[in-house]
């Protein structure tokens, strides 16, 4: 199909795996931080906000290098984790980590808007009915913000699919290991006559992106259909 060779298929499979794992793994944290920023007042809120946005404004190569310093096998966190058998450097898990960190600010921003727009009066009503804060969050707050959560997840997934700079700096582009679609396209474009292979991958990217948007639209409409 599409005349993709094993190397290209590996890149497509890896990209999908990296992006899906990165999005799903970081989503709970993104929801929590978004809720914190939207609804709570606390000391250091400005610092947290800046920290969340940092990957968005830093050059991706810098983010990738910082990841390498921190999560590399010689790094502070990476060294500790490698003792436990968890290695990020030059593995697909590292690519997922880089993608998750790059997607995080976009997801938080989208989800935060949902929490800010949802009505705290409904949460008060639930509280007076005896619901614990966790139950209020699960049954009232989160369902109300669900369209934004979906939008945030899709945005995060798209960002993860397209992530290049931080990934290539942190985990390089080892075919079959850490070579995602963007780094594969870049690699093909460096070789004379690689344009056709790159073109196929561009097409695949387009299909995946459109598919993600279509799925999110469908889910969002299903969610909205149950309400006024």
């Amino acid at each position: 199909m599409l005349g993709l060779g094993p190397e290209e298929w590996a890149a497509v499979g890896l990209s999908l795996r990296v992006s899906i794992v990165a999005t799903l793994a970081i989503l709970p944290l993104a929801i929590w931080v978004a809720h914190l920023l939207a609804r709570r007042e606390f000391v250091g809120k400005g610092v947290l906000n800046a920290l969340v946005l940092l990957p968005l404004v830093l050059p991706p190569v810098v983010t990738g290098y910082l990841l390498l310093l921190t999560f590399g096998t010689q790094g502070a966190v990476g060294g500790f984790l490698s003792n436990l058998g968890i290695v990020f450097a030059f593995r697909w898990t590292g690519a997922a980590l880089a993608a998750a960190i790059m997607a995080f600010p976009l997801m938080v921003r989208a989800i935060r808007l949902g929490f800010e727009a949802s009505d705290p009066k409904l949460e008060q009503a639930a509280t007076t009915l005896g619901a614990t804060p966790w139950r209020v969050f699960r049954t009232i707050t989160l369902p109300a913000a669900l369209p934004s959560v979906i939008a945030g997840a899709v945005l995060g997934f798209a960002k993860a699919m397209g992530e290049f700079g931080a990934t290539i700096t942190f985990v390089a582009a080892i075919p079959g290991q850490t070579q995602t679609i963007p780094s594969a396209i870049y690699a093909f474009l460096q070789v004379p006559g690689g344009e056709s292979q790159a073109g196929k991958l561009v097409l695949v990217s387009l299909v995946i992106a459109l598919g993600a948007v279509a799925v999110s639209e469908w889910v969002a409409r299903k969610v909205a259909g149950r309400r006024a």
Partner: protein
């Protein structure tokens, strides 16, 4: 169950400094918008934490700044009916009602308190498909289903138009009569308060201006300035003698004589309250003859209260009941009104609005107390 509230709280530019006690039943918080009524019930609910003071329900301390006690709202077992229904839009009516009791299947059958709300046919619907009155009834059912120890109602009729209000009030009356838990009812409409409440707390600018038994407070001429000269008026306890008299009126028996008032929707023999606005009462020293007014009750002046304006408030005893009249200072002087004087109170039938009649008669209320 006795209730004791003492709260000081700064809310921006507004300072709340209120304290009152009530012996349970229905406590009405009455006053103009922005006087702190909602802030008080939010403090009872635990939705806000006052700067200082206490909130006690019976022997349970919900809040005490001195001892640092603050029971979080979800552990207070309160039922809160807000001004707007606040139904959860992504849940059906049945799910909304069952929210406060997640481990039990909800059924309107066999639940006498909820049957009066008339919402059985709405259970499958979603909040977007309900009218304002239906949604508010569901909100009340939801609050009651959580089996609260105290019911808080913040102008539950505010979101309804006048026609809906008149339709809704009987539901509320029946409900209040059936529950034995303390109810706090916030309102700026005296007609609602007069029908529902046992205890009245009058609020002004974040403070409690008056607090006392409803019937006593409404017949106290000194309280007239706090309640408002247009709203002031005593409550007569009446029994329906003939609900459907031939001429479109109802005959109501009071302890001092019969009243002919606009037709009430009630069975003969029902005890109810009638609020007679002080400004609707005319006084006469001699028994009037040849007047168009049908209602003439013999009474005795108990107290005359002169306020700032040109009017005086005259407290009267009519049989077992209290009445109040607001007349000009000039008339009072001309008539030579003094405490102890016998006179006649004249009440024009059509001046008593249907919204001023209804509610629970005092006797039936006592009989239902556990």
């Amino acid at each position: 169950m006795s209730v004791s509230v003492q709260i000081t709280q700064r809310l921006g530019d507004f300072a709340l400094d209120a304290s009152f006690e009530s012996e349970g039943g229905v406590t009405a918080l009455f006053g103009p918008s922005g006087c702190g009524k909602t802030s008080i019930i939010n403090a009872i609910a635990g939705l806000s934490r006052p700067d200082a003071g206490h909130v006690r329900l019976g022997d349970q301390v919900l809040f005490n700044s001195a001892t640092g006690v603050f029971v979080p709202p979800h552990k207070r077992r309160i039922g809160y009916v807000f001004q707007e229904p606040r139904l959860f839009p992504h849940m059906s009516v049945a799910q909304n009602i069952g929210y406060g009791r997640p481990n039990q299947l909800y059924s309107t059958r066999g639940d006498g308190g909820l049957a009066v709300l008339g919402i059985e046919h709405l259970l499958e619907r979603y909040p977007r498909d309900l009218s304002g009155g239906e949604a508010q009834r569901v909100a009340i059912a939801r609050a009651l289903t959580s089996q609260p120890k105290v019911l808080l109602m913040d102008e539950p009729l505010a979101a309804l138009d006048d026609a809906r209000k008149t339709e809704f009030l009987p539901y509320l009356q029946a409900l209040v009569a059936k529950t034995s838990i303390p109810v706090f009812y916030v309102s700026h409409a005296m007609s609602e308060v007069a029908q529902l409440a046992d205890h009245l707390v009058v609020m002004r600018d974040g403070r409690v201006a008056r607090s006392g038994a409803l019937a006593q407070l409404l017949s106290d001429p000194a309280a007239i300035s706090d309640i408002g000269v247009r709203e002031a008026g005593a409550i007569l306890n009446v029994t329906v003698a003939q609900a459907d008299a031939s001429d479109g009126l109802s005959v109501l028996a009071t302890s001092a004589g019969r009243l002919f008032l606009p037709k009430v929707q009630a069975e003969d023999g029902t005890a109810m309250r009638v609020r007679i606005r002080a400004s609707d009462v005319i006084l006469s020293k001699d028994k009037p003859d040849g007047l168009s007014a049908l209602n003439i009750l013999p009474c005795k002046v108990t107290q005359i209260h002169e306020g700032q304006g040109p009017g005086v408030a005259v407290a009267l005893r009519s049989g077992e009941d209290a009445l109040m009249a607001r007349i000009t200072r000039r008339s009072a002087r001309t008539m030579g009104l003094t405490a102890g004087l016998s006179c006649y109170a004249v009440i024009k039938s059509v001046s008593v609005a249907p919204t001023d009649m209804g509610g629970r008669g005092t006797e039936s209320r006592v009989a239902q107390m556990p």
